[in-house]
Symmetry: C2
Subunit: 322 residues, 2 copies
């Protein structure tokens, strides 16, 4: 049974939705539907106006605040904000780690994921959702040595995948579109406009949104922490990032992976371009710091507190925490 | 600007997913997809095993616990657990109300909603999601007098629908299936098995699940609070409910609505049958208690604290709170 830390007092907590657009839809058939067993049928006319592309965020503001700016936690593809709230083996998540250290945390669900919802598609959102069977992230997130059926983790792999844990992880995987980036970017900009100056901690797919949002609003993004960013910002606008210090972290098992050497190489080249334009991007390969065994899901790995401590140290050294 | 209450200390908080089944899927085409702009294409094989039907729950356990059992908050159709966390005009939600009074709260997302996610359909889940334009709940949730275009609320209606508020409400509406009741019931039973003896507070569609779950596990459901339940339990098993005290609340504007007179009449007949079998169901029409103007979204109405206080009083009178 995992242990939990001492109580924490919250000054405020709650949630809100931001952003989205009103989009009309017409030409669909009207239906009469019983929405509950034995219920009285309701007339559902799908024609009308949809509020599409809004985004959910939940905040917890500690009574003893030590972070100078709120910390926005942005999840990666296939996930929701739940990935920061726990680990597959039931330990405290990174949300706990940072809240316990006095950071105001905002955990959001990207557009079309989780509590953000999605409008009719392909009418309003183009494309369709992508679904992941339990076999897919086992290899793609650098957890298993070979296919899922072989049941062997990479040697020294820190992801808690034994027993019921892999199923616990897959329980929290949700469908995702691959065609909604502009909507998501717009919603993250709306989130930032609402919260005000903030530090963005982004994982995987959200690395792209974090870079892009910082390029749009360097006045509001005070720092970026990127956990294995899956893509880069706009290479034509690296100078927009020169006032935004960034820390990019990469885990283990990248050499030998089918895709991560190329993804990291692109990330490193972008970081160098930002630095050449006067910016400050620190890239840390965790194994080079002696932190070994990390999968792509760094915030859930058994050594995730050690990595969180490294992030905390980087933020504190930049005077974002007192 | 809404006001907030004093700080609250949490002994524990976090989330988990429960339930679900492993279901195989075959015969689908394999795709190569760039999951981020400029990203390295990934091979996505949708064939394999899906973890379908799991459910998300987030808990907050106050340091000073006064509720004898945890309070499970189950949302209605088209919503997620977010409906308990705030109101469209940014006030504190019912989750705050009960947590502040020392209840351990568990806010879940029903199967296929929000952070619970959904598997491929119609392959694994039958049917397809239902989407609601902003015009639909305006009438169906007893808020507007006539269609949305007329922009007139029912006289004395307490739902905060002015200004940006109706859009804020629609921002949190998500797609829902109408074909997944058995999956949802199974997941709620798994939630209860994990949490242990609890009090269930259910809105609208979840009224059906609450009655049914109490009929399956009267040992674990210590009491039911039903906010405008949209459907009833199994009429053949009313005697299973005789040890489960229940409070059912109905709002205003039911007379004159197209569906709610029939829905309430069914609810009242079921409550009478439970009472005839030795049970204890209190039915409260809020207007008869002098609480007027409530829409179907009682927990968001401007007078929602007054209704929450009535629930709190009922629970305290039954020695569930000390």
């Amino acid at each position: 049974m995992p242990s939990f830390g001492p109580p924490v007092a919250l000054a405020r907590w709650g949630s809100f939705h931001v952003g989205g657009r009103l989009v009309p839809l017409a030409g669909k058939p009207i239906r009469e539907l019983a929405l509950s067993p034995g219920g009285v049928p309701a007339r559902i006319d799908p024609n009308g106006t949809y509020l599409a592309g809004a985004m959910y965020a939940q905040y917890m503001i500690p009574a003893e605040c030590r972070g100078r700016f709120p910390l926005l936690l942005w999840h990666g593809g296939g996930m929701t904000g739940a990935c920061w709230e726990t680990t597959p083996d039931g330990r405290e998540g990174w949300q706990h780690f940072f809240l316990r250290r006095g950071w105001a945390t905002y955990v959001s669900d990207a557009v079309e994921r989780g509590r953000s919802g999605f409008p009719p598609y392909p009418d309003i959102f183009p494309g369709e959702p992508l679904f992941l069977p339990i076999e897919n992230p086992w290899e793609r997130f650098r957890i298993g040595e070979g296919p899922y059926g072989r049941k062997t983790q990479l040697p020294g792999n820190q992801f808690p995948a034994d027993g019921e844990n892999w199923k616990n992880f897959m329980r929290q995987v949700v469908p995702r579109f691959t065609t909604t980036d502009e909507w998501t970017l717009e919603a993250y900009l709306a989130l930032l406009a609402r919260v005000g100056p903030a530090i963005v901690l982004a994982h995987s797919q959200a690395g792209y949104f974090a870079w892009r949002v910082a390029q749009e609003r360097p006045d509001l993004v005070k720092a970026l922490v990127l956990l294995e960013p899956a893509a880069i910002g706009d290479p034509a606008r690296v100078e927009a990032l020169k006032t935004v210090p960034a820390l990019a972290l990469y885990g283990d098992f990248i050499v030998g992976d089918a895709r991560w050497p190329a993804i990291r190489a692109k990330g490193l080249a972008f970081a160098e371009a930002v630095c050449a334009a006067g910016g400050n991007v620190a890239v840390v390969d965790l194994p080079a710091r002696g932190i070994r065994g990390n999968s792509h899901m760094i915030m859930m790995d058994r050594n995730c507190e050690e990595v969180a401590a490294l992030v905390q140290e980087w933020l504190a050294a930049r005077e974002f925490w007192a």
